[in-house]
């Protein structure tokens, strides 16, 4: 069979190919390229260090150069109480990573990063670190044993349903991560379905709500034993809105278009003024659960 996607677009493509022609566009003024600093950092009181990247953007048209290194930069970080200044030279075109160890991230405080380079480019972003809350994480598990119809092995399916209670009176944004810790075996991990990677309490303020279930499979007896005697570790990231907006836009961007030139473009969210990028923060509520 022809793949679904291809065969159903054949008539449209045929129509276009029969009659269409392609040429370079030379008579229009293309968008100007404006060099900007690209800043990204995700901070949390739960993280041991602040990690941020500082790079430059690159042009889309004309002769394509690798991004210019930011060069000599001054980085100013403020957590609402303390200030740190870092002067450094970033010479790589990409992935200029900076680790800041002596700057605590404080929940409930605003955090600001400003980067200036020797060429006069600057980028500035701030975020408000969420206050750590207890979201009353609850877990319900269901285990189903069945026989693998192909190999005859016993198969174990472990379904995990996670419930949380939203903190009332404020907008909350979440990200859920679940892992299992087994004894003597490799770690199994699972992510909620795509739609639940980041989510908000919109319409559910203060309410208890059940997140989609996550399912772990194990095809072998020894794995089942490990799963049965393992711990589930549930981490609920309580994020700020930029974190949510950025990851939503990232998911949209990854899934957009399907090759359709008429689909709406999906720009990435940015909260960096003068430049582009993201500064976002979160706190973590967690639960360790013994699988029975």
């Amino acid at each position: 069979m022809i793949p679904f996607k291809t065969k159903y677009f054949i008539p449209v493509l045929l129509t276009l190919l029969i009659t269409s022609c392609t040429k370079d566009v030379n008579n229009l003024k293309l968008p100007d390229f404006e060099q900007k600093l690209v800043l990204s950092s995700f901070i949390s009181p739960n993280l041991p260090v602040i990690e941020l990247t500082v790079d430059c953007n690159m042009n889309n048209f004309g002769k394509l150069f690798p991004p210019e290194p930011p060069g000599k930069v001054t980085i100013l970080l403020t957590n609402g109480i303390d200030e740190v200044r870092i002067d450094t030279t970033l010479l790589k075109s990409l992935h200029n990573k900076i680790l800041v160890k002596n700057m605590p991230v404080k929940e409930g405080k605003s955090f600001k990063i400003k980067v200036i380079n020797s060429k006069g480019l600057s980028a500035e972003a701030s975020c408000a670190v969420p206050i750590k809350r207890d979201f009353h994480i609850e877990v319900d598990t269901t285990r189903l044993l069945s026989t693998d119809p192909f190999g005859g092995n016993t198969r174990s399916t472990l379904s995990i349903k996670v419930s949380i209670t939203d903190f009332p009176g404020e907008s909350n944004y979440y990200r859920l991560l679940i892992t299992t810790q087994t004894y003597g075996g490799s770690e199994l991990s699972g992510q909620p379905e795509k739609g639940d990677v980041v989510f908000s309490d919109k319409g559910k303020d203060g309410k208890k709500f059940v997140l989609r279930s996550v399912t772990f499979f194990s095809n072998y007896i020894d794995s089942i034993a490990k799963v049965d005697s393992s711990f589930l570790r549930i981490y609920l990231l309580n994020t700020d809105k930029p974190y949510y907006d950025f990851h939503q836009s990232l998911l949209t961007s990854l899934n957009s278009g399907d090759g359709n030139p008429f689909s709406e473009p999906a720009p990435l969210y940015s909260n960096v003024s003068n430049g582009v990028g993201i500064l976002a923060s979160y706190t973590v509520d967690s639960l360790i659960f013994r699988v029975k």
């Binding site: 276009l16 392609t22 370079d24 690159m58 899934n255 999906a266």
Partner: protein, 810 residues
């Protein structure tokens, strides 16, 4: 009675003061209702008589719509309704002079004694164009005298003269040439009227709503010009009888069929062949019209394709039968059925597979005209309309002897009842009232899979229903010689699954005659739209879904004001109009950034997708000026249209909540259409169009950025792992303008009268100077040692395309 010129009426009890002697109307404190209904009753003179009847085409007996019926001595008149009926009630008179005029027909004048009710049915004869080079003082209908504004009538004959792509005559392509109407992409039949989307147009064929008006992926419309009698586009100033869409009403009526004698016409073009037969079943009582069209490329190519066979065809079929029970009752039954089908057959020793698309519309309308009195006309319609789109895959594994079948389909089905009355108490009032109720059955998606190879079976079919209703009252009031008002009110109601909506929609159009042939017009219309089209591609393709208003997705709403001037140049048979409009739309459906509804990619996933999650509601503003210079008679006919317009949108979740230009926001739009009858045998035609390029988002730069992927070690400590992603900096949405669109089409028709009838050869050239207009752009990178270059590429569709067609009629 409020007479035609000097009005001095004082009903102090009601606090009405009208003084027209000094052109001053002091105050109105009573409601419109009192004015429209109580006043005419008070003002009836003692002896009044009515002259009424039907106006028909002499040759065919076809009723004529919008014919001007004018009483010269009284300086009052009316126009025939959709069924050719007119009625004028006047004080008795020894003699009246009645003038019947209609574009393209010889004017008829009757001198009559008016001492009793008269029934006068009139047969108009078509005029011979060449004999009308000298325009006489014969009174034709003038736009400056009509209260209608933002409305354009097209004659099917005009449509047939305009040169088009591959020579296929196309109503919608001609509509696109009118000011205020823009096409979407190259070749598309989609209409964008005053900043509205293609789903905001109410397209009606014999009272039935047509949901998808396209053949061949949008390149041709499904209306066969041979079967059409009238085409009217309303862009604003909507009378209260219309509702359910925000931006336009395109009302088309099919011919009834010749009541006198049998006739046929047809033709062969590069794309399709068509034939129409019409004639009397019972002379002057019952007639029938049958009209069909079909592409033939698949039939011609079929013998040359063996193992693999790609097939595409479309066809449409119109039929209408009517029966005249006498003066009081008439019955019409009409229908349309059309289908497009694409299939790809693969036959090998191992497999047999048939994959394809099909989509189509079907409509059916049963109408009953009843004349209660010579002033009260009614029509009752029962209407069915259906649109469906499907994808299928039939697969047979020869060795395994097993089948696979999958089908995805969506559609909408309507069952409607509509009742309208026209009441003509006197020449000052034409009252229309009625109601309509539509039961919509939506099928946003259905997926059926029977897989005997993997022993799998899926049947996921979703239906959603809604009931859309409207009740209206409108009056075209002619209180003064210089003033005409069409005021009305519509109450609309929609029953969604979990919620009901209802709105009152006031409508008003006013025409003030500043001098002879020169009028100032203004209008206001409030509209609501309860069903929406979700576009998969932005191209108005057949994969678009119709969905209802829900508790989450509210009705779209608009309020539009327009102000214009109309000048008729009677001597040269020219009409010039200029209109300014401002339209504000709310709860407009938009797509969240990156949203796609391309269900064809994976119907399984599509079934899981909830369209409500992918749309967002916002606001839109459209404003501009339209200029139109028209010439409808003589050797040279046509028009010059120019539109200067702006369309902006704003959605909370698009473009970070900031306003942006709509994709088809077109600052300048020009169209010139000309037909010149060189002789009895030769007609020349040409069109030239120019439009500002579409607004799109184009990224000038990109960047690498990290995304957060938190991880945890065995001691539950969190650590960051930054992913690496490419981001594109688009700046503000839709700030890049594509290259402007312009194109010249020329055509020449050779007419010859034969013993059996008339034949026409037409040679036309689409895009004469081979302008490569942009269809879409894409970015690409090319490597030229040692460097890489980023380049913007343009894809164009249609180069210069000559075509030839042959038509006949007898």
């Amino acid at each position: 009675m409020i007479s035609d010129s000097h009005v001095s009426l004082n009903i102090s009890m009601k606090k009405i003061f009208l003084r027209h002697g000094n052109k001053l109307i002091k105050s109105f404190t009573l409601s419109l209702f009192i004015f429209l209904f109580i006043l005419p009753v008070f003002s009836q003179p003692k002896r009044q008589y009515t002259i009424s009847g039907f106006v028909r085409e002499a040759v065919s007996g076809e009723s004529l719509i919008g014919v001007n019926v004018y009483l010269k001595d009284h300086k009052v008149g009316t126009v025939t309704n959709t069924y050719g009926f007119y009625s004028l009630t006047m004080p008795s008179s020894d003699s009246i002079e009645l003038i019947i005029s209609y574009v393209g027909f010889s004017t008829e004048t009757f001198k009559l004694s008016f001492q009793k009710d008269l029934e006068l049915n009139i047969n108009l004869k078509p005029s011979i164009v060449l004999e009308e080079v000298t325009i006489t003082a014969i009174r034709k209908e003038k736009q400056s005298e009509s209260v209608k504004m933002s409305t354009i009538n097209l004659q099917p004959a005009q449509i047939k003269n305009v040169p088009t792509l591959f020579g296929e005559k196309d109503v919608l392509k001609v509509i696109q040439l009118l000011p205020g109407v823009q096409k979407g992409s190259e070749g598309s039949s989609g209409l964008y009227v005053r900043g509205g989307g293609p789903d905001q147009n109410l397209i009606i064929l014999d009272d039935a709503i047509v949901y998808n008006a396209n053949h061949l992926f949008g390149f041709f419309s499904l209306f066969n010009g041979d079967a059409l009698k009238s085409v009217e586009l309303t862009k604003g100033g909507f009378p209260a009888r219309y509702g359910g869409r925000l931006s336009s009403v395109l009302e088309m009526n099919m011919k009834e069929g010749n009541k006198k004698e049998w006739h046929a016409e047809g033709g062969v073009g590069l794309i399709s062949t068509r034939a129409t037969v019409e004639g009397p079943i019972i002379k002057d009582k019952c007639s029938i019209l049958l009209s069909g069209r079909r592409t033939f490329a698949d039939l011609l190519l079929s013998p040359f394709l063996k193992n693999g066979k790609t097939s595409y065809y479309f066809y449409d079929f119109n039929a209408k039968i009517n029966y005249d029970f006498g003066r009081r009752d008439k019955l019409y039954l009409s229908g349309y059925f059309g289908q497009d089908k694409y299939s790809l057959l693969t036959h090998t020793p191992e497999i047999r597979e048939d994959v394809g698309f099909n989509w189509g519309n079907a409509t059916g309308t049963l109408r009953w005209n009843h004349l209660f009195t010579n002033k009260l006309f009614s029509n009752t319609s029962l209407i069915f309309s259906k649109y469906s789109f499907g994808i299928y895959d039939k697969y047979y594994d020869v060795h395994e002897d097993k089948n696979y079948y999958a089908e995805y389909y969506s559609g909408i089905r309507d069952y409607s009842i509509k009742y309208d009355i026209d009441y003509m108490p006197n020449p000052q009032h034409l009252i229309k009232a009625g109601f309509t109720s539509i039961y919509h059955q939506f099928n946003p998606h259905a997926f059926v899979e029977v897989d005997s190879i993997n022993n799998n079976s899926v049947r996921d079919i979703t239906f959603t229903n809604g009931i859309e209703s409207g009740i209206y009252l409108e009056d075209t009031w002619h209180p003064l010689q210089a003033l005409k008002i069409n005021g009305g009110i519509r109450f609309s109601h929609f029953v969604a699954i979990k919620k009901q909506y209802h709105f009152v929609e006031p409508r008003l159009s006013v025409a003030w005659k500043l001098s002879n042939d020169f009028a100032l017009k203004g209008s206001y219309a409030s509209m609501n739209q309860y069903i929406h089209m979700i576009s998969n591609t932005g191209l108005s393709l057949q994969t678009d879904l119709w969905v209802p208003t829900t508790d989450r997705v509210k009705p779209q709403q608009s309020k539009q004001v327009a102000l214009g001037l109309v000048k008729d140049f009677t001597k040269h048979d020219l009409t010039f109009s200029i209109e300014g409009y401002y339209k504000k739309m709310s709860n407009v459906i938009g797509y969240k950034e990156g949203a796609t509804f391309l269900v064809v990619d994976n119907p399984n996933l599509a079934a899981e997708k909830n369209w409500e999650d992918n749309v967002t509601a916002g606001k839109a503003w459209s404003y501009g000026m339209e200029f139109l210079l028209q010439k409808n008679e003589g050797r040279l006919t046509g028009w010059i249209g120019y539109t200067l317009s702006w369309t902006l949108m704003q959605f909370d979740s698009v473009n970070f909540g900031k306003k942006f230009y709509e994709r088809y926001d077109r600052r300048h739009d020009i169209s010139i259409v000309a037909n010149y009858k060189l002789s009895d045998h030769i007609t020349l035609s040409g069109t030239w169009v120019y439009g500002t390029g579409n607004s799109i988002s184009l990224s000038g730069s990109r960047y690498r950025i990290a995304a957060d992927i938190p991880k945890f070690d065995n001691d539950s400590h969190i650590f960051n792992q930054l992913g690496d992603w490419m981001g594109y900096d688009f700046g503000q949405k839709n700030t890049f303008r594509m290259a402007p669109y312009h194109r010249l089409d020329l055509g020449i028709q050779f007419h010859k009268t034969k013993k059996w009838g008339e034949r026409i050869w037409e040679v036309s050239v689409y895009n004469v100077y081979n302008r490569m207009n942009p269809f879409y752009y894409y970015s690409t990178q090319t490597f030229k040692n040692p460097d890489t270059y980023g380049q913007l590429k343009q894809v164009s569709l249609f180069p210069v395309i000559p075509s030839i067609s042959y038509s006949f009629k007898f």
